[in-house]
Amino acid sequence: MTSSDATFMVWLMLDVRNISLPSLFSDLSFSLAQREMLLIRGTNGAGKSSLLRMVAGLIRPSSGTLFWEGQKIQLSAYQQSLLYSGHSLGLHPEALLKDQVNLWHYHYRVEKKVIEAALHIWGIAPFANQKIQHLSQGQQKRLSLSRLHSLARPLWILDEPHSSLDAEGRKILEDTLARHLERDGLAILASHEKQPGMREICL
Amino acid sequence: MKFTLAKPRYFFKITNFLFPLALVLGALCFAAGLYSALVTSPPDYQQGDAMRIMYIHVPASWMALFCYGALALFSLFVLVWRHPFAEILAISVAPIGALFTVLSLVTGSLWGKPMWGTYWVWDARLTSVLVLLFLYGGYWALYKAYAHSAQGIRAASLLALIGVINLPIIKGSVDWWNTLHQPASITKFGGPSIHPSMLLPLGLMTAAYGFYFLVLFILRARTELNKRKLLVQGNLS
């Protein structure tokens, strides 16, 4: 039972009030309660990634504010409770897979066995001694997404998680997202595909 | 870049009034200054006529430092308050400052030949003014290196603010190290050690430089503003 299965007792609520970015979007507001998933859809270059990066606190909006758990976000505490997975996967191409595990161990101060357990779930554990750049794009994506299991973070911000995943990968992703929501988690996805029955914002 | 029209229209209003005034006053001061510098003012007791270069060299150096100070101030506005109009002011002032620095360096070394016996000596004051020129160059290169000017200006502004440390070094370099360059004559405590008859042309020339700067600055700022307007309307790539 990896640590990420614990349910989140705290009352969680993300509230975004009329944030705007020059020439992309302005006065955009939305809020996200527990067990809710939001889909951001839009054409290429519509600002999906910028919006996600702003919600993750990487870019400062030119106007508007974000609220987490009711108060204005305090950046370092807020970023402790979110997990951002962007287009670039955050991996070291030259490193071996097990080096990447060590790096995450140092970076996120998470037990190595937790990370390895997550690798098993995503089915990439056998490639431990391979260089990451030799893995296929799909395998690298799985490795990057394995952090969803190894880190217990209530708010997930995923930028096109479905891209370059095969059918099996997508299934694992769907299950993880479903289980995350059951445990009162929140998730914001940016994607091209239309997800049936999910709240969405079009940019 | 969303175009805040409030500030620029206000700028156009003042410059419509200020521009011709600065032009006329500048021309007047320049003429008076040149006349008094070259004709009426007496030669120096030591250097004779070689000293007249001072009337070009000293105001140019002051203007070079002044322009960098203004550039640093605008950069502060760009970084702290993210003011789009400050970007236009900063880009307008930078090349003018570089121009004055080059002028100051050239006239300085021309003056050095008769006075010190060499065009260039690695002396604290001269080196730091050369560094100032490199800072201007670095600022411009960094600004132009970025595709989006909004990003470029912020990177360049940070560089300008870091470079501010160079200004006190230039000012103080003369009295910290007993350098070849003579210490400040005007800002001495015991009052300027320049004879009044030479102070007048210097003052006039400085005023002329000031107006010249104003004219150039307003011209550059307006062209930059108009360029942005056209950019926003989309018919200028």
Binding site: L58 | T127, V131, F134, G138
Partner: protein, 216 residues
């Protein structure tokens, strides 16, 4: 964070080889072209070694950082709870261990190429070791500023070299003094003072530059 950075640098030791090769090769070429005339070598050696060390750092740091940025690691660092300044300091320390020390040792062992006496090589080693932290801090700052541009090492040197001048001048005056046998203490203090100041300046400006560089 520091252990992460050290481990990270340890991982990339392969690419550091090219940096050392560049430095060694440059030293060979310089001492070769200067010819056998000993006094000329002795006088020009300190300056040249210093300039080559600065250029090596200014051309190797942007490569490392550009690779990290492309893999999206800058976002990961920004999201990390610790301050960006701790990241920058640990990066400077990692670079110090993995680039600065080898370079200093190499110039120490290659000093016979420049016919430097023992006391001069010692002072050369000392000044390099003092100057390097500030150099890597400025190098990182410069590469952050030029990350999203095509300029690379060239643009970085253009904008940052003016800032390294005090290090160069005071470092050389220390070596000049030791060569003359005069007391090099005042310029030694100046070197340490300006190196410390530039290190702090580089790190604080870097704190602003890191989130700026992460914005595509």
């Amino acid at each position: 964070m520091i252990s992460r950075e050290l481990y990270n640098a340890y991982l990339h030791k392969g690419s550091l080889l090219s940096t050392f090769a560049f430095f060694a090769l440059a030293l060979f070429c310089v001492s070769l072209t200067l010819g056998p005339n000993e006094t000329l070598l002795r006088q020009s050696a300190p300056g040249l070694i210093w300039i080559l060390a600065i250029l090596t750092i200014f051309f190797s740091t942007p490569l490392l950082l550009k690779r990290e940025a492309q893999c999206g690691l800058l976002d990961e660092i920004l999201l990390h709870p610790s301050l960006t300044s701790t990241y920058l300091l640990s990066k400077v320390m990692a670079e110090y261990l993995f680039i600065a020390l080898p370079l200093a040792l190499m110039s120490f062992f290659l000093s016979p190429l420049f016919a430097l006496s023992s006391v001069e090589t010692l002072s050369l080693l000392l000044t390099l070791l003092i100057g390097f932290p500030a150099l890597s801090a400025l190098g990182i700052l410069g590469s952050l500023l030029t990350l999203n541009t095509q300029g690379g090492g060239l643009l970085l040197s253009l904008i940052i070299l003016p800032l390294t001048l005090p290090l160069l001048i005071f470092g050389l005056s220390v070596m000049e003094m030791t060569r003359l046998g005069l007391d090099s203490f005042p310029s030694f203090c100046l070197l340490m003072g300006s190196s410390l100041f530039l290190l702090i300046l580089g790190v604080t400006a870097g704190c602003w530059a890191l989130p700026f560089a992460a914005e595509r």
